[in-house]
């Protein structure tokens, strides 16, 4: 069994991503590992200031607090590219993740198998284990 040092988790502000970040943080808190929250900056982000490259979003800090994760073990990365490519690169330096966590569907993603399916592509191409966290089923 390999030791879990760093969990990378994709974050785009969507409810799916929030669920994935929560799962990663709870797991990290339980295993003593670090969490690297990774945001993929797309083409249109050049026109917006939605996510700072330097400062962890308040929503992510709040999640860390809720999940009992020491923020000293939390890192925030904004890297240019599509979500799949950026998360695949999380397995390399500087993040060097041992595990990649994603929500089942990111923001603005088509639910089909081929178009925009970050989670499917990640599973197919990643050199490190990938966890795909589904949204909880709606209560009856």
């Amino acid at each position: 069994m390999t030791t879990l040092h760093t969990i990378a988790v994709g974050y785009d502000g969507s409810p799916d991503a929030e669920v994935a970040v929560r799962w990663a943080m709870v797991t990290a808190a339980a295993t003593g590992s670090r969490v690297a929250v990774v945001h993929a900056a797309g083409l249109l982000e050049h026109l917006s200031t939605r996510f700072s490259r330097d400062e962890t979003p308040p929503a992510v800090l709040e999640l860390a607090d809720e999940c009992g994760l020491d923020i000293a073990r939390l890192s925030w990365y904004v890297n240019d590219g599509d979500a799949c490519s950026v998360l695949l690169r999380a397995g390399e330096a500087p993040v060097e993740a041992d595990l990649i966590v994603v929500g089942s569907r990111g923001q603005g993603q088509h639910p089909g198998l081929l178009l925009g399916s970050t989670s499917l592509e990640l599973v197919q191409h990643s050199n490190v284990p990938v966890v795909v966290v589904p949204l909880p089923a709606p209560s009856a």
Partner: protein
């Protein structure tokens, strides 16, 4: 003055998402740039046509084409946070890819002239199995793959400010295509480092020249002359296609390079020098989101390839990038050395 061959405008108004920078007015601005040249009988417009499935599968997976078509005809929507499609997008994208083929067919028939493909959506981010970065079908790749199928050796010069990851990936291991890209880095899509040099069967046939924010035209030209030109000379292309994005212009909102329309004229003259003979050069519109800059840059670039004199702005110089250029050269040399060593050991790296 040489003849300019362009595609007939296919109605692309149905591929639009309100507020999105990749919009129909971009082609209008590019065509205004053509109109500014007052070419008269030296302008030839070839009829619009859609690329066929047989032509598209030279660059794309059939399953991707099926799903993209079905997605559009289902009403479309957001494919990813950057990329949208509408009901009309499938037909419009097929005509954008077909426009490049039609222009090349006319160049082959005439054996002289220069082609300019003013169509959208752009293509160079589109992977063989995925849309991204505003791109649905990779127009320049479909054209290049068709030429390769005819036994040609194709140089693709990509001067869009963003790295053409889709084009690079499609021809990564193809010895009949040389892909040369100048682009701002880091920037979307994140690929395009100098150490990306091509696959096992095409070692050295990907040439990436990453540029820092603020880089000026002199740095771009120096990169092409010092890093790419020797590779191009050795490759000896029989065709030259240009992914001509104009978003490296200093007025463009999508990036931070500092080029002027005059720089695109200089770049255009450079690529003319890479074409082996008349009638073997075609420019494909990629990015360019400031409409005035796009119009002026198209006007300057096309005037240069047609040996005209229209040039709105002086070429830029004095920006950063000299150190990065040397670093890029060193990274490329190291990557090539590693691959050649592995090659001699007959072990795939």
């Amino acid at each position: 003055m040489a003849t300019l061959i362009i595609n007939e405008l296919f109605d692309d108004s149905g591929h639009e998402d309100p507020g999105h920078p990749e919009r129909p007015e971009r082609v209008t601005a590019a065509l205004d740039g053509v109109r500014d040249l007052h070419l008269g009988d030296d302008l030839v417009i070839v009829p619009a046509r859609a690329a066929t499935r047989v032509e598209l599968v030279r660059a794309h997976d059939g399953s991707y084409l099926d799903e993209l078509g079905a997605f559009c005809y289902g009403g479309g929507g957001d494919i990813d946070p950057d990329t949208y499609a509408t009901y009309d997008s499938w037909l419009i994208a097929k005509h954008a890819a077909g426009a490049g083929l039609a222009v090349i067919e006319e160049l082959q028939r005439r054996k002289h002239g220069v082609g300019f493909v003013a169509a959208r959506p752009p293509g160079h981010h589109a992977l063989k199995d995925r849309a991204m970065g505003f791109c649905l079908l990779n127009n320049v790749a479909v054209a290049a793959a068709t030429l390769v199928g005819q036994g040609q050796r194709v140089l693709i010069v990509d001067w869009d400010v963003h790295h053409g990851n889709g084009t690079q990936a499609i021809f990564w291991d193809n010895p009949d295509v040389l892909y040369v890209s100048t682009h701002q880095w880091p920037l979307f899509p994140g690929s395009g480092t100098a150490s990306e040099v091509g696959g096992w069967h095409a070692i050295g046939q990907t040439v990436n020249i990453p540029l820092p924010p603020g880089a000026t035209g002199d740095v771009v030209r120096r990169g092409i002359e010092q890093i790419a030109a020797p590779v191009i000379e050795e490759f000896a292309p029989t065709w030259v296609l240009v992914s001509a994005g104009f978003d490296a212009h200093r007025a463009d909102p999508m990036a931070n390079l500092d080029l002027t329309s005059g720089d695109f004229a200089q770049l255009a003259k450079t690529v003319v020098g890479f074409a082996p003979k008349p009638g073997r050069l075609a420019l494909f519109l990629e990015g360019g989101y400031d409409l005035e800059a796009l119009r002026a840059s198209v006007r300057s670039a096309l005037s240069a390839v047609l040996e005209g004199s229209a040039q709105d702005e002086r070429p830029s110089s004095g920006g950063p990038g000299a150190e990065q250029m040397q670093k890029a050269f060193d990274e490329r040399t190291a990557a090539l050395s590693m691959m050649h060593d592995a090659s001699e050991g007959e072990v795939e790296p």
